[in-house]
Subunit: 399 residues, 2 copies
């Protein structure tokens, strides 16, 4: 990872409805180290006062989990809770822990259905049966669903257990491993119940990406590209130069790219931990269009990152139509997204329904929408007061 | 409330396994004000950084709830959740709120059974149906059960709603209105699921105590006397001088005594918000014996404060038998507890069972117990390494 020691911490600067990252935050600095077995490991420190923690990123990191947990102090019991699809990785983690502490393993079915109150209740009962107490550390192994679920169980069992997150999908590695959002769904509404609860440590093993299905891998890549667009022109350029390495899932490129994404998200979260200042909204670039696409095409038909990929192109076209950017900025995104293998064209869906779905988004205000729009590479702004006709024109142009 | 401006903030001082309150903390200072209708209101500020809040204490305070909530800013919807036994007070609160905001009312059955996951799930669904969002403030009206339940629902719905606590029992006014502990029971274990979640404001209306059954009122009084013993000799002396006023529930004496208890607990909590330093343990004076009494006599047979009253006398006898205090200190407690109408003698229960029940207490360490014991009036210490024979001797002497 490129260091820029000449740029001191200047933090975040509000700019006319948007934010720009000025300099590198020294509270979140990635640090590359040679690990004992010769592998390289990057560390990102997430600075949240007494809730601060480290993210360790590299190949072969699963085996270090026990050591990372011991470093927390007073952990004498691990309960590994895994997506059953990655039970193999979970057993590796359990075995690594068992050398120095009691370690249990529980699995939950894959898929969004596991983010339910019934599943949470089951896990609470399991923890009681396993004698979990304040010296227990939960270990979440899987994607965003398991992270959200286990995080919420950790936040609430005996008023708070520590938890270690081991995200095994690219999307969860660059997204939900930073931010502390945990939660589950009610039958009528997603993510309605939850807590802000930070992990005590995050271990990202890039080896887990080798077994990830191609569409899921690319879905995560859409979020990676998003970080370049919204916060870091240099990252975007690096991705443009690394298309072939990214396509073959090169471990050292992935290690460094994932570390940079975590670092960028960590800076946003450190400045707006509980979503009170609005700064975290920059992370939603492409998401207003994207959520509508997911909803109208039927949840599950389109992966989140696929919808965000198309959503970013739509948002960029909207910025163009408002005269805020040149067509070339949109084209650079389209070229990179298509080069890695992501969709950029709107599927055949009724525009009226997409518009209605956008109205349900949190960013609605009196029938007009707020969008996160690009201002230039590496910089976005929150633009209010967008109406239906402006959005419809973009939808027309995006097939 | 007596002011002692000559004593600056010196905070807490650790003393050989115990703690002593040195001076008055200026972060939690009670402040008496005349309210618009001529009634007197005391305010205790609970200093917890961005989680700080005020407690308002006085007669006729229920009617001020809407005004207290408006002062929080951006509250446009109240959901009052009440113990059905005090639905009348809850309707007064709802009516007061309705003048300036949308206000809904939900009730839950009285009793510990309402602290269940099923009840929490029901309330989450109710909040969704009522369109609760981040501009909604929950209002808990009732005793400790409702406070714990509603606090947990507030902590978890959409990752955190504000809540206003209106404790209507003396016990909840001096105990659970400060501390931020929320939670519910699993079928096999009490308070196993929960969160630390601070209220945004607490309104204590001493008028609600007039309808409280005598045993419940006295149960709260045991906790009041405990605060004097553990932290404030002057408060203890004031209680000794005010027995008649306390027995007839004199509003102005209650206002000032409740305010002082809240202030004392606020100082402990401010120094140990999440129970990490052990300081909060001082609040457990009388509770190791007390919990055992509650468990062995069958939950519900003895009220919590009745068990704590006997438990404090037992703990004091234990301190005597260890040569830590004179018999006179125990006698002062017995005289005050009996004067207000509380039990001080151990009921006829098998001593072996009481000892076994104490082993389940959190303060057990290798078969020997730690007790919070008095050192002198207004000061307690955490004493480790107490064994069965020492406890048995105290049980023998306490009938």
């Amino acid at each position: 990872m490129a260091r820029r020691p000449d740029e001191p911490l200047r933090g975040w600067m509000g700019v006319a409805g948007g934010w720009t990252l000025v300099g590198r935050g020294n509270e979140t600095v990635a640090n590359t180290q040679q690990s004992a077995d010769g592998g390289l490991c990057e560390t990102v420190h997430v600075a949240l006062a007494e809730r601060s923690y480290d993210i360790f990123i590299g190949a072969g990191q699963l085996a270090t989990t026990a050591e990372r947990m011991r470093a927390l102090g007073t952990v004498s019991h691990a309960v590994v809770i895994a997506d059953e699809a990655v039970a193999g990785y979970a057993r590796q983690v359990q075995a690594a822990c068992q050398s120095t502490m009691r370690a249990d393993l529980l699995t939950v079915p894959s898929g969004e259905e596991s983010k339910s109150i019934a599943r949470v209740d089951q896990l609470w009962q399991d923890l009681l049966r396993l004698g979990a107490d304040r010296k227990t550390c939960l270990v979440a192994v899987g994607g965003g669903v398991v992270g959200d679920l286990v995080g919420f169980v950790a936040a609430t069992f005996t008023r708070g257990l520590r938890f270690c997150q081991i995200p095994t999908t690219l999307l969860s590695q660059v997204d939900s491993s930073v931010g502390g959002k945990t939660g589950v769904n009610l039958p009528q509404a997603k993510n309605m119940v939850g807590a802000f609860w930070q992990p005590s440590v995050v271990v990202i093993d890039t080896d887990t990406l080798h077994s990830l299905p191609e569409r899921e891998y690319l879905s995560g890549m859409a979020e990676v590209i998003k970080y370049g667009m919204i916060l870091d022109a240099e990252l975007f350029e690096r991705l443009e130069r690394s298309v072939e390495a990214l396509r073959r899932r090169d471990p050292s490129v992935l290690r460094s790219v994932i570390a940079r994404c975590c670092e960028l998200k960590a800076q946003v979260v450190a400045a707006d931990e509980r979503e009170t200042t609005g700064l975290r909204a920059v992370l939603n670039y492409g998401h207003t269009f994207g959520h509508a696409l997911e909803a109208v095409s039927g949840y599950g038909a389109m992966l989140h990152g696929e919808a965000v990929s198309i959503g970013m192109v739509c948002a960029s076209r909207l910025a163009e139509s408002l005269g805020r950017i040149d067509a070339e900025l949109t084209q650079r995104q389209v070229r990179l997204l298509e080069a890695v293998g992501l969709p950029t064209r709107l599927p055949d869906l009724p525009h009226e329904e997409l518009w209605r779905a956008m109205q349900h988004d949190k960013k609605v205000e009196h029938g007009r929408l707020r969008f996160v729009l690009p201002a230039r590479m590496g910089h976005v702004e929150l633009v209010p007061d967008i109406d239906a006709s402006q959005v419809m024109a973009v939808l027309q142009a995006s097939h």
